[in-house]
Symmetry: C2
Subunit: 174 residues, 2 copies
């Protein structure tokens, strides 16, 4: 049963049958899913953003990301958000991981894309997005994670996952 | 303005002033915050859980975790969830990272704790929690992350962060 609907998420209450046979009624947040994009200018330089997040009243260091629009293909979302938020088109997009963001309360699944063969276009922000892109070496970004300077979960996860798989990445970037 | 309230989260709509002076009205999910716990039996053996997640209809491999109760101290939440979900008391709890789970739509901040000097007690599940603890080597868990077998964001992040800081961890475990 849908009890609230907004552009980015709905709230629903449904009955679920558990593996132990019991039934539980749970309220939860339905979300269409999202993408996060790690844009590589070369083997070691990435593009990140400083983004103002109104609901927590903070600037966060993040990778560009966004919600899948109704009926949109994943790769289209990745390509669209990359261009809107940082002003680049990707010649190559590769999905390297999918994960649930908060599976106790929200259905959102997020897909991590590597974006390479970048070509400069122009940022196209929505009226209420406050986003400043910047270039940084992957190793320097990892140091920010280790020092607790990056507070956005998807960005910490993405940086550490990519760094862990870096040898593969060098291969992927060919 | 609160438009929905449940045990784990509320939905609110508020006006926010942006750094560019504009005002935006946003619906969002208010969440009290949560903890995730990485329990170490020794320098290389951790305890994880298989948990059934009704709202996505899947079993996920996770670290124990849970929502902060009203007015509860963070460390109490960590200690309580560890005992309830895996049946261990921690002699030592250390917070090593805090991060936002989905800062575009939800206020939830999550705190990662290392739990060491473990002492066996008994699992105390709530009626509708379906959770099976198991022991695994940290390196084997990291391999599950690399192979895409772990789909829970907080768990991927926690495993990679701990593994990245492993030398420090060995020191912390003394």
């Amino acid at each position: 049963m849908k009890i609230y609907s907004s552009r980015k998420f709905d709230v629903e209450i449904n009955n679920f049958t558990l593996p132990n046979g019991k039934t539980v009624e749970k309220p939860y947040v339905r979300h269409r899913g999202s993408v996060v994009i790690a844009p590589f200018l070369d083997n070691e330089t990435i593009i990140m953003i400083r983004q103002y997040r109104p609901i927590i009243g903070k600037w966060l260091i993040e990778f560009p990301a966004g919600t899948i629009e109704e009926g949109e293909q994943l790769e289209t979302t990745a390509s669209r958000e990359l261009e809107e938020e940082v002003g680049y088109k990707a010649g190559k997009l590769q999905k390297i991981l999918s994960f649930y963001v908060s599976p106790g309360v929200m259905t959102e699944v997020m897909h991590l894309y590597l974006a390479t063969k970048l070509e400069k276009t122009a940022q196209k922000l929505e009226e209420y997005e406050v986003i400043e892109p910047f270039e940084i070496k992957l190793n320097d970004a990892i140091r920010l994670v280790e020092d607790g300077k990056i507070e956005d979960g998807k960005t910490i996860l993405s940086l550490l996952f990519i760094s862990r798989k870096y040898r593969d990445l060098l291969f992927l970037l060919q």
